[in-house]
């Protein structure tokens, strides 16, 4: 789980670099990616399906 979170943060930051996001937003993007991945992977434990879990995870924002 911890490995998954770290790798997910790295993946979102890599994609932010591909799309040329400004430097000062990179850490925020990594945080959003980690938070939404944890929601997406933890919600199915409570019996929610993967599609509603993805819908809930899409609402996460950091600001």
């Amino acid at each position: 789980m911890v490995w998954e979170l770290i790798i997910c943060g790295i993946a979102t930051i890599a994609f932010a670099i591909i799309f040329n996001i400004p430097y000062r937003l990179l850490w925020m993007i990594g945080l959003i990616g980690m938070l939404s991945w944890s929601v997406y992977s933890l919600l199915p434990i409570t019996g929610v399906g993967p599609v509603p879990a993805a819908a809930v995870a899409a609402f996460i924002r950091v600001n």
Binding site: E4, I7, C8, A11, F15, F19, I21
Partner: protein, 252 residues
Amino acid sequence: MTTKKDKLIDLCLLAGKLMLMYGAETYRVEDTMKRMAIAGGMDNVNSFVTTTGIFLSGVLEDDDDIMQMIRIVDRFQDLSKVTEVNHISREFVAGRMSITDARQELKRVEKQPMNYPLWLIYIASAIGGGAFSYLIGDSLFDMIPASIGGLVSTLALVLFQHYLQAKFFSEYLAAFFGGVTALILVHSGFGTNIDQIIIGSLIPLVPGVPLTNSVRDLMAGDLISGLARGAEAALTSLSIAAGVATAVSLFL
């Protein structure tokens, strides 16, 4: 003869062109141009933006109606330029910047190189491909061939885009070479889980920005540009899928 009217409408169109070229949503471009034109003293401003062109019309100080358009040919993804143009337009609307200053700043943003060097983008696509392949497939060792595949497909995309100038065909070829790399690595024993490796090597090609912008445009009511961007995203995904299908049917 450059009157204030011409300067103002040039400024608005330049800002709109930069934002649309580098991947902003349609409603944001329309809103920015309208606010800038009103702040410059125009009345009866109407802006209409599609994915491939910008129209702007208005009246300045009881003069004749003016209406201009711009055609957008190339589309890139550079969101930091969108942020900077947004900032400049806010400064202009708040009155902290004159028309000439804003024009100079916009020209500077237009010429400015990419935020990150090209090698960092290649490395980022390799890392992104490997990391996403782990999230999909749960095999830590297969991250390495997946990241090699992601690197190859991005390199092929940039190379073919440079020489062919045909977007969908170069995406097809990039997906083909990414898939071939993944299959070669698996056949030579370097990697076990073939689905995971192919997905990881295709992830850098997925049209993320057009897809998101299409949905946001549709929700904002810009049906034409939403559908146009959706068609772009769908064609890109179709060419990626066709490339992988060719690779798999030839070499698996």
